[in-house]
């Protein structure tokens, strides 16, 4: 490494100053290749004709400076330093005829290629970002009447769903007062009107059931309704003294007859 130091001493003071400035910025580098690319700019030549030997020197000066300043460098920076040291020695020594690996020049050319490629990508990225961008320079329709907004939602229900729903309501509502079906209801007023006309024919005891209107004796609900209405009607007539009522025993037929003199 003392050899490296002597190399480093050959750098101009300006170069040394520049590499020290770089150290301050060490966190800003995106890896050793990025650092090498920055260092290569000091050579102010086409990357294809860059002196890799010189670049290797600059890099090693950078690493040494960082070490002197007790700056922790990431491992990949040190790996690169080791590789550059190896490359440098290969470049300086005459080629070994027995070595069938890549030549030092090939390795150097590859490093130059890598740098050039990275530089090219960096420029391409800059050009890309400088393009007119959607939402910044170019704009899409502000009120997209997009099809997604016009998406038709179809609601589905099967007959079973419908039946279940109805069944659910009906089971839920067993205790709901049932909507009166007027067709099946015989009111007391109706029965009273009717009985007033009929009692004239009830000279003798007759069952109340025989006074029920036609068509109201088969259907159970109709029968119950008319029976109740007529029962209430004859109670009213009895109260007014127009009829007499009798019932032999509990649950036996109720009988009525016209009260004489009424």
């Amino acid at each position: 490494m003392s050899d490296d130091w002597s190399e480093a001493e050959r750098l101009t003071p300006a170069e040394r100053l520049a590499s020290e400035a770089l150290i301050v910025d060490v966190d800003g580098f995106e890896g050793p290749l990025d650092l090498l690319l920055t260092l290569s700019r000091t050579q102010k030549v086409d990357l294809r004709r860059i002196s890799v030997l010189e670049l290797a020197n600059q890099y090693m000066v950078f690493v040494e400076r960082a070490r002197a300043l007790r700056i922790e460098l990431a491992a990949d920076y040190l790996v690169m330093a080791a590789w550059l040291a190896f490359l440098k020695s290969r470049l300086l020594l005459p080629p070994d005829p027995g070595d069938d690996g890549p030549s030092a020049e090939e390795l150097a050319a590859h490093l130059a290629f890598q740098l050039e490629r990275l530089e090219a990508m960096r420029e391409a990225a800059a050009r890309l970002m400088a393009r007119d961008q959607l939402g910044r320079d170019i704009f899409a329709r502000g009120v997209p009447e997009d099809v997604t907004r016009h998406r038709t939602v179809t609601y589905t229900a099967t007959l079973i769903d419908l039946m279940r729903a109805y069944a659910r309501i009906r089971t839920k509502d067993e205790f709901r007062p049932f909507v009166m079906d007027r067709d099946h209801v015989f009111t007391m007023e109706q029965a009273l009107d009717r009985m007033r006309g009929l009692i004239g024919y009830a000279g003798d005891w007759a069952d109340l059931t025989s006074f029920l209107p036609e068509g109201w004796d088969v259907n159970p609900m109709r029968r119950r309704s008319s029976t109740a209405a007529h029962f209430a009607a004859i109670l009213e007539l009895a109260k007014r003294g127009q009829v007499e009522l009798r019932q032999g025993e509990t649950f036996s037929p109720i009988q009525l007859r016209r009260r004489d003199g009424a």
Binding site: R141, H150, Y155, M163, Y166, I169, R176, V179, D181, P220
Partner: protein
């Protein structure tokens, strides 16, 4: 020359040509999320522009096109030509289940039609939201029937042909009765107190219902 002196401002801050102003208005209206007023246009465009005039030109340019320049209150916006609206409806059919309220309401209309909103509410035991009725109307499953000849003359609802079609029914009379619902096990899940006595009621209900559909 002295009679009509050119205002100095005009020469100093020359407005872009009208064609250019038209392009500006076009781009602003296109990109804006809301309709844009003339004064908003003016504020965005270079000094001396006449957006009102540019709008006139632009409107003419889009006449008969697939997109029109329309006036929305005080503002202006691009809108799809009315006759092409159907192209924007991509058939992404998303199937959703009807809400419980909606299906119950529908069932009541089907079984009790013609039925008023108050009657639906009485049967369901809860208020029926406007939205539920609207949804069913929109789906074309129910429609307005004749007004009920009772105080207030409330509107009634009946099911539509489309409803019958959707549910594969020839007529509303084909709806399974309560007996069939019970037979299908749909009513049996909750034996109720006094269910013996209810049996009659149920029969009654079936009868009543068939009468209901007779007219």
């Amino acid at each position: 020359m002295t009679d009509t002196p050119e205002p100095i401002e005009k020469t100093l801050f020359e407005a872009p040509p009208m064609g250019e102003q038209e392009r500006m208005v076009e781009a602003i209206l296109f990109a804006s999320a809301d309709p844009v007023t003339v004064s908003e246009l003016q504020a965005r465009m270079p000094h001396g522009c006449d957006p009102a005039e540019a709008l006139v030109h632009l409107r003419k340019r889009y006449e008969g096109r697939g997109v029109h320049l329309v006036r929305v209150g005080d503002a202006h916006a691009f809108r799809t030509a009315a006759d092409l609206g159907h192209l924007l409806q991509k058939e992404t059919v998303e199937q959703r289940k009807l809400s419980r309220a909606a299906i119950e309401t529908l069932a009541i209309v089907a079984y009790h039609q013609p039925v008023t909103r108050a009657e639906i509410e009485e049967i369901r035991g809860v208020a029926v939201s406007r939205g539920t009725i609207d949804q069913l109307l929109e789906l074309d499953w129910i429609r307005l029937g004749r007004r009920r000849m009772t105080p207030g003359r409330p509107v009634t609802f009946v099911v539509t042909e489309h409803f019958l079609d959707h549910f594969g029914l020839e007529s509303a009379r084909d709806l399974p009765g309560l007996k069939e619902l019970r037979a299908a096990g749909l009513l049996d899940n909750r034996p109720l107190p006094g269910s013996m006595q209810k049996q009659d009621d149920e029969d009654e209900a079936t009868t009543g219902q068939s009468e209901l559909f007779e007219d």
